[in-house]
Amino acid sequence: MAGAGEAPVFVVAGGGARSALHQLRLAEGIRIVATPRHAAVLLIVGRVTEAATESIRHVHDQMAGPRVTVAWGHPEPTAVPVRAATDGGVAEATELIRRQFHNVVNGVIAPEPVWLPDIDPVEWRGVGPYGHGGAGMTGGTPYGRPLALRAPARDGLELDVLPLTVGPWFPALPAGLALRVSFQGDIAQVVEVVSADLVGFESPGGVVARTGEPLLIRDLELARARHHLEWMADTFRLAGIDRLALAAGRLAASIDPGDSALVDRLATGARRSLLGPMSLRGVGVLPSDIDLSGLGPIARAAGRDDDLRATEPAYREIGFEPVTHHGGDAWARFEQRAAEAVQAIELAGRAGDRRAFGAGEIEGPDGRHRVGEPTPATRLVTHLEQMLTGLEWGDLVTTVQSLDIDMESVTVGRAAA
């Protein structure tokens, strides 16, 4: 009975896994959960680097059990010992996950043991006068860890600050992004990006390397629309609108060039679900000293008419005009991406076999990619600390999500620089 239901899966998503993962979310019989405690299957999808091993082991051991690990599109040598692997499509992956789940729950295969050593990391017993780890009420390491530190706060109450590394596989943040957050209450008083390049990349040059010769506008625009729709699905999921998230995911998996009516309906649905007033409006406004040029939808959502496509003759032939929105907050970015998805589908319908870009630069879905220049995601990550400081945790997550940071692109940008 237990093995018949949906397989609860916790996902470690590496490079090149974005679309595959979105398709997996649509599959019957799979439930992607937010915490390993609720999961029985650990899915490693896409490329992760050697540096990610430790964190994957942590996540694995935090699963409640019975647990099993499955790899999908995850090239050898694997960072961790996986039970089963596939390089096939979504159907194969779904089948494999469900079979492994069924087997481990019903005792056909043995549950996996822990991967990390089973030893107390810190010696603490018997140190203080009560054997509690240290002297005084706040000293020492009771139960193996110290207590949080006292620190001044912006409202003048010098209470505790709790430094905590969130990520790299925290479900609400981009996969591979680890933030070291100093929590004071639920406010992130200090934010640092822990950069370890955990996510591997598919091709070392990223999007730009594939632009040796001009690209078909039709393919480029469909990819853009798909990217934006997948982003919208993630945004809906973060806001708890599961029905729309599924609709956006289905739409992303089956876009028809020229048929943008469904995307329009999706945007209308988002407005009806009060996404703007309830959770996005007024969140994630960027500081004014950040250079927006080349940041694509983010810049255009702040009213900047900044688009490489406007300089391409082929685009002008099919009547391209950049869309912009005002406000520069998370809601403006949502409206911007929805409008760009509509526009991209229409452009793809009109493009025929026209080609554009190819001189080492391209207007990607997340902004300008140019040879020798950091990718938009790389630039955004360097600004994260400044942008996220002082935000309430929910607003912080919304802000990061609205920026659409792909850690694979960050790794590529760092490797190129």
């Binding site: 203080g128 509690h132 780890g133 005084g136 706040t138 000293g139 020492g140 110290p146 207590l147 003048g156």
Partner: protein
């Protein structure tokens, strides 16, 4: 008024519960537990009121105290060091005097309660809530309205005191943290172990935080 055996049983159970949980408030290291033991004590007293036919007052006591005790837990966790009691907590002074005072007041009050003769005029059981409402809106209207004014004063006062910025600038502007050594002010009656612990805590307060103790 002829309270049945069941009333005696219930009053005894809830009474013992109220006293024990009230005592546990001061016997636990965790601030969360302290606040919620106090709430249990209030809930037990509320249940006793219900047994005494003051159903409305008993339930309203529970309603009010559940909200108030959560706020108390929040503030206690906010301001007490080591709020979860991960290290043992000793934060008492003049312990013996306090125990003597507590026991003494219990004995005196219990004695008064046991020996004094009270008139026996039991409450008729009709609708005490309605009576209370009529009292509030009739004879005691002034009590009711002045409670409103008092609550307004409390709201404004509490916000003015607690908030960071007020009409006259930052709340802590111009204040200085006193340089003190706490040992000299600790009551000698405190037990030796508590004293040792306490000196450490004083250090914590003075020198930032106790993180450096192990080193």
């Amino acid at each position: 008024m002829n309270p049945g055996a069941l009333s005696y049983v219930l009053v005894s159970v809830f009474g013992v519960g109220a006293v024990v949980s009230g005592w546990l408030v001061f016997r636990t290291d965790s601030m969360l537990r302290a606040a919620y033991w106090l709430m249990v004590s209030f809930v037990a007293v509320g249940a006793m009121l219900v047994v005494l036919d003051a159903q409305f007052l008993g339930l309203i006591l529970i309603l009010m105290m559940s909200g108030e005790m959560t706020i108390m837990a929040i503030f206690m966790i906010m301001f007490m060091m080591n709020p979860a009691g991960l290290n043992p907590m000793v934060m008492v002074h003049q312990n013996r005097t306090a125990i003597a005072a507590g026991v003494g007041s219990f004995l005196v009050l219990a004695w008064v309660g046991l020996v004094a003769e009270f008139p026996d005029r039991p409450a008729p059981i009709d609708d005490p809530t309605a009576e209370l409402g009529e009292e509030l809106l009739g004879r005691s209207m002034l009590v009711f309205e002045s409670a409103g004014v008092a609550l307004l004063a409390v709201m404004i006062g509490a916000i003015a005191l607690a908030a960071k910025r007020g009409r006259f600038g930052d709340a802590d502007a111009g204040s200085v943290e006193p340089a003190i050594d706490i040992e000299s002010s600790v009551d000698p009656a405190v037990e030796a172990v508590a004293d040792a612990d306490h000196a450490d805590d004083a250090d914590d307060h003075g020198a930032g935080h106790g993180m450096g103790h192990g080193t």
